[in-house]
Symmetry: C3
Subunit: 202 residues, 3 copies
């Protein structure tokens, strides 16, 4: 089940990456690269920071093919994208929670403690989007819109709580997926935001 | 002594990171993340480039807690910050030299030669600030104001010189800390700058 | 032969990096750092992603000296640079193909398959320039001008094709170098570009 979610997630993230590249008028090669970085960058960052080799896309190069194809498809169906916006937000929410779960579990399997595991989950969840925004020369959106990194953080701790309570893995996964997904959708619907810190020293 | 300095340094760097994030109006989560990257990013970059695992914050997750708390405290005492500016410059100067020393010693312990050790020290000293500026979408300040990277480089070579002369570690540390700290403060006071290279090909 | 090409390539790339830093009015330290990142960043990125330690410049710190000297020389001969522009485009084209070949061969030697090897070649070829543009706060140029990343990709697959056909290494190298170099020069001469994806959702 998690693998299916992962494949949906990298496809959806690749498509948001391709749209970002399109907003900057990049060529097709750039579109494919930004799509791959958005979809696989969070996991790669986690693996590099934890020294967990080989990286996912080195072990499974077919994921690179999947994200590249998703990027090229996005180019052709771009005019449809406006109408699919809500579908995207849903897929992206699913992806965020799925990425976070995978990152959290990876760190636990490597024997790290809960705090590091939650950071690992959050890096996996949000860093693809951060790298996308850096490459497109934007201020990372992650920290400026509705609850996003916080949903990732909350999902990681929800899963860790379930693990601590020794729930069966499938239960822990389902509860976290449902809870994190719902939290993200509610945040979008009601524009829940973290308080902002505005500092002006001039 | 170096550990105490290190803790002061990551706290001070976390606070400068939080202020940068505040200038961009990020939410609290973004503030905490930028603070952690500023404080721990230089050391992480060094460890990833040298293949030195586990990273500091993976081994000591309590440092993440310290930098996060420092970031949140910064949010609440921000109005005070203007008056504390000189204190900050002093702490930041101490931190720069302490980070550089730690980076240099880490590379020596791993068996690298002097040139690589000095680069390792400089990466540890200045890369946190560079990553902060990239995430906040600024041109890294490090290369545009008073001697900063150069102080780091000079400190690394001062320590390596002391090591070469076979001074006792505590002497080498003290001389470098004092010398580097003084050099940085003098550079701020008298606006010492590296010459700039301005190239316009249009 | 490849080593000679590599040395020419890192020198040429260091000089383009130094010019970029000069356009942003950075100080000499910044110029040297941007030059080193431009010349050695692609290979470092590849080695970190593949877990291939030690990195090139850790093993051969003399390359850092070479790129630093190239950067400093650039500062002094900058007024000449305008007239040398075509020489630079030629050296840069050679460097792109040489970097790509080295990256592709490194991945093959580590036992990776053709797809990962071609990605490894492309990362080595183009990431130095991408990092340069990120540090200088530009949108990476790589994806907005004449065929560049595509030349790298095509060169990688040309070499892999020769390897598959079991040509002698020297033949595979020569064919790829000549082909990739010619393709890049033709692309510059006739302004061949990848189609662009322009998406505007406002």
């Amino acid at each position: 089940m998690l693998l299916t979610l992962y494949l949906i997630a990298i496809t959806a993230e690749a498509m948001t990456g391709a749209l970002s590249a399109g907003r900057r008028g990049m060529d097709w090669f750039g579109v494919v690269l930004i799509a791959c970085v958005t979809a696989l960058g969070g996991g790669s960052m986690r693996d590099v920071l934890l020294g967990h080799y080989p990286l996912t896309w080195v072990k499974h190069p077919e994921y690179l093919v999947l994200t590249s194809v998703a990027a090229l498809v996005t180019i052709f169906i771009a005019p449809l994208m406006r109408r699919l916006r809500s579908l995207f937000l849903v897929l992206d929410a699913l992806g965020l929670v799925a990425f976070t779960l995978i990152g959290t579990m990876t760190a636990l399997e490597l024997g790290h403690d809960y705090l590091v595991a939650s950071i690992s989950g959050m890096i996996t969840g949000v860093f693809g989007g951060i790298l996308r925004d850096i490459l497109c020369n934007d201020i990372p959106l992650v920290f400026r819109r509705e609850l996003y990194a916080s949903v990732s953080f909350a999902s990681a701790w929800c899963f860790l709580g379930c693990t601590y309570l020794e729930l069966v893995p499938i239960q822990a996964l389902s509860i976290t997926l449902f809870g994190g997904f719902l939290l993200r959708l509610l945040a979008i619907r009601f524009h829940w935001e973290m308080p902002k810190f505005v500092y002006d020293d001039r």
